[in-house]
């Protein structure tokens, strides 16, 4: 009876491990988060989460007073595969993670913002890099988005 219990317990562990592995994303997939922001020249409300971005953008253009979060998109994508993220008003951005986190937890990203050419850069994982576009959803608004890549596993 003891052997039966042990074998059954082992079987359950195998099944559980299989279920966990089946649900978890592939190990090499990278999670890319895109935050879509709209800066306004008329609406002065600033989302608390955007205070840092708002402060810096206001320095460049004092006409932009308000900053609101439109939405946030997260996708798990394999390296070197471009994925398209919808921003606003059918504006899209193509993002490719050329390399995952290295020993310094830095990733290499290639991005194609709307109305702008491709940019390839190296940035630390887990932090957002804002990109200010020229696209105006309305005459008194400006589209800004920020990209973050995860995980930061030190190249493991």
């Amino acid at each position: 009876m003891g052997m039966v219990h042990r074998s059954l317990g082992g079987s359950w562990l195998v099944v559980l491990a299989w279920l966990v592995a089946a649900e978890a994303p592939a190990a090499e997939d990278l999670r890319v988060s895109v935050v879509v922001i709209v800066a306004s020249e008329t609406d002065e409300k600033v989302d608390p989460k955007l205070e840092c971005i708002a402060r810096e953008v206001k320095r460049a253009n004092k006409n932009l007073k308000g900053f609101r979060l439109v939405h946030m998109v997260c996708k798990s994508i394999p390296p070197k595969v471009q994925e398209t993220f919808l921003l606003i008003d059918k504006q899209e951005v193509g993002i490719t993670v050329n390399k995952g986190a290295d020993r310094k937890n830095r990733v290499q990203v290639r991005v194609a913002p709307p109305l702008l050419g491709e940019i390839t850069y190296i940035t630390p994982c887990g932090k957002f890099l804002p990109i200010v576009t020229r696209y105006r959803p309305r005459q008194d608004e400006l589209l800004i988005f920020a990209i973050r890549v995860q995980p930061c596993d030190g190249g493991k």
Binding site: T120, Y121, F128, L129
Partner: protein
């Protein structure tokens, strides 16, 4: 004999007809015969009935012969056979189409006249589904992954985890490095927080 006694002993028309046809026997026959003796005018009716019967028998059509019966029966069987004539099939199709249309109209109109008033509609829903029907499958919370949402709607979620936006941590100047850019005018602005800025974002050239 008084009038009412006369009426009560008068044979019924059926008895008189049976007497005229010779179908009464025994006391009934005797009673009718006695009554007719006392009522000559009624006897005349009986004689007229007998004359009519004789005329019927003399002028009735002869019975069909056996061959005639066989011919008729054969014709009946032939008519009962299913016809394969296309002309009949077409009319059958027309008839079926008409019946179908009538059924559809009846189905649409009947509820207006047959449906019970709202006050008598049972309010208790059917609680038990047939045993052979399975309930609709429903996802579990851990199976749902939010891809896109408005961060302000985080509190409205009942399943899955909201997108983690409690803190937007930005890169620093030491962290960022541009390797390649298609547009040479793209700059990494030297602000407190580094940002990639479209040269035309603020109306520049």
């Amino acid at each position: 004999m008084r009038y009412d006694e006369q009426q009560s002993s008068r044979p019924s028309p059926e008895q008189l007809a049976a007497y005229a046809d010779g179908e009464l026997e025994g006391p009934a026959h005797q009673a009718v015969e006695t009554w007719l003796t006392d009522h000559p005018d009624a006897a005349l009716e009986v004689e007229q009935h007998r004359s009519l019967t004789r005329a019927w028998k003399e002028s009735s059509a002869p019975e069909p012969s056996a061959e005639a019966w066989r011919h008729t029966l054969r014709a009946i069987h032939q008519r009962l056979q299913p016809r394969r004539h296309p002309f009949n099939r077409r009319w059958l199709g027309v008839a079926l189409a008409g019946l179908t249309a009538a059924a559809v109209v009846a189905a649409l109109v009947a509820p207006r006249f047959l449906a019970p008033p709202a006050s008598v509609i049972p309010t208790q829903p059917v609680t038990s589904a047939p045993p052979e029907e399975e309930p609709f499958p429903v996802v579990e919370a851990h199976e749902v992954i939010i891809i896109s949402m408005n961060p302000n709607d985080s509190e409205a979620l009942v399943v899955a985890q909201p997108l983690q936006l409690s803190e937007i941590q930005l890169v620093t100047h030491e962290d960022i490095e541009i390797i390649e850019k298609a547009n040479p005018n793209i700059k990494l602005e030297d602000w407190g927080t580094p940002m990639i800025v479209d040269p035309l974002a603020f109306g520049g050239k």
